[in-house]
């Protein structure tokens, strides 16, 4: 089955890349942008008995490698 893992920076963690993108968008004249935070998306093909098993395995993947839980949160969509 197909899954998507989204990794984002935790609130309060400074995101210089997001800030730079925010500044670039403003200078391009895109109006109304008040904040940009950059994250990562992983599209994953996973085989498992059912979606809860898949979710459990992906949780392990996030905890072990995909996210650095000191600074990042993750969410899993199946």
């Amino acid at each position: 089955m197909k899954a998507r893992v989204i990794v984002t920076l935790k609130n309060g963690v400074l995101d210089p890349q997001g800030k730079a993108i925010e500044g670039a968008l403003t200078s391009l004249g895109v109006s109304g942008i008040t904040s940009v935070r950059q994250g990562k998306v992983f599209d994953i093909e996973i085989s498992a008995e059912d979606s809860s098993q898949a979710k459990q395995n992906l949780k392990t993947a996030c905890e072990k490698l995909l996210a650095n839980t000191v600074i990042e949160n993750y969410s899993i969509e199946i």
């Binding site: 963690v13 400074l14 210089p16 890349q17 730079a20 072990k64 490698l65 995909l66 650095n68 000191v70 600074i71």
Partner: protein
């Protein structure tokens, strides 16, 4: 002093590191491949050199931090064995959880490669005992992700336990402000583990061991290590 330098795909400072270790310890360090599971017997010091392991994919040091040799490095550290991580090596130590915190993108988003002064903040360690307290040393930095960050509890613990090894400063020894090249929390350039047997730092002391190439302020670290075992 028997040392072992771990080689990851993308390590590129191992040559400088081996030269510095050989100069101080008069012994040839072993080179250990990341896919190995064991360190050479009776290894005193494990070194994770600088570079761009796995091309910095995912996060700097993230994939190397989970390489099979890292279990042996962790066990060595837990036994009280010495571990040194420089630059990418520091990032790998943080990613593997052997040291707390994380190295984030430099605050101004630029890769910085230049000379940098440091204040030696803690000399009571096997890595720094040949320096004088608050000695100002001039070494070099070369990194894009050296902005040390950790939660407040961790920072308080590091500060309270005297585990900040080096801080960025200017030539006069003034810490902070424009002397901080990367936005690092509390101007932290390097930290120790709880028992001070593990040191991770962003600057490259291994490049400052020869008067022909800019100075010898890095020698203190290797001379400290050489006398430790």
């Amino acid at each position: 002093m028997k040392s072992a330098v771990i080689l990851f795909p993308g390590s590129n400072r191992e040559g400088d590191m081996i030269r510095a270790l050989r100069q101080a310890t008069h012994q040839q360090p072993a080179i250990v491949w990341h896919a190995d599971h064991e360190l050479p017997k009776r290894t005193d010091l494990v070194v994770l050199p600088g570079g761009f392991s796995y091309g910095d994919y995912l996060r700097c040091g993230a994939i190397a931090g989970r390489a099979s040799i890292m279990e042996a490095v962790r066990a060595h550290a837990e036994r009280g064995g010495l571990v040194l991580g420089v630059c990418n090596g520091f990032q790998i130590l943080c990613e593997s959880g052997i040291l707390p915190g994380v190295l984030m993108r430099n605050a101004h988003l630029r890769f910085i490669c230049r000379m940098q002064h440091l204040s030696v903040e803690q000399i009571n360690s096997p890595f720094t005992n040949k320096y004088a307290a608050r000695q100002i040393i001039k070494v070099c930095i070369a990194h894009g992700e050296g902005n040390y960050e950790a939660d407040q509890t961790t920072i308080d613990r590091l500060e309270g336990d005297g585990r900040v090894a080096f801080r960025y400063c200017n030539a006069e020894g003034v810490i902070g402000g424009s002397a901080n090249p990367n936005g690092s929390r509390n101007e932290i350039a390097g930290i120790f583990s709880e028992k001070r047997n593990v040191l991770g730092l962003m600057p490259h002391p291994e490049n400052l061991i020869d008067p022909l190439v800019g100075g010898i302020d890095g020698r203190g670290l290797f001379d400290s290590l050489a006398s430790a075992a």
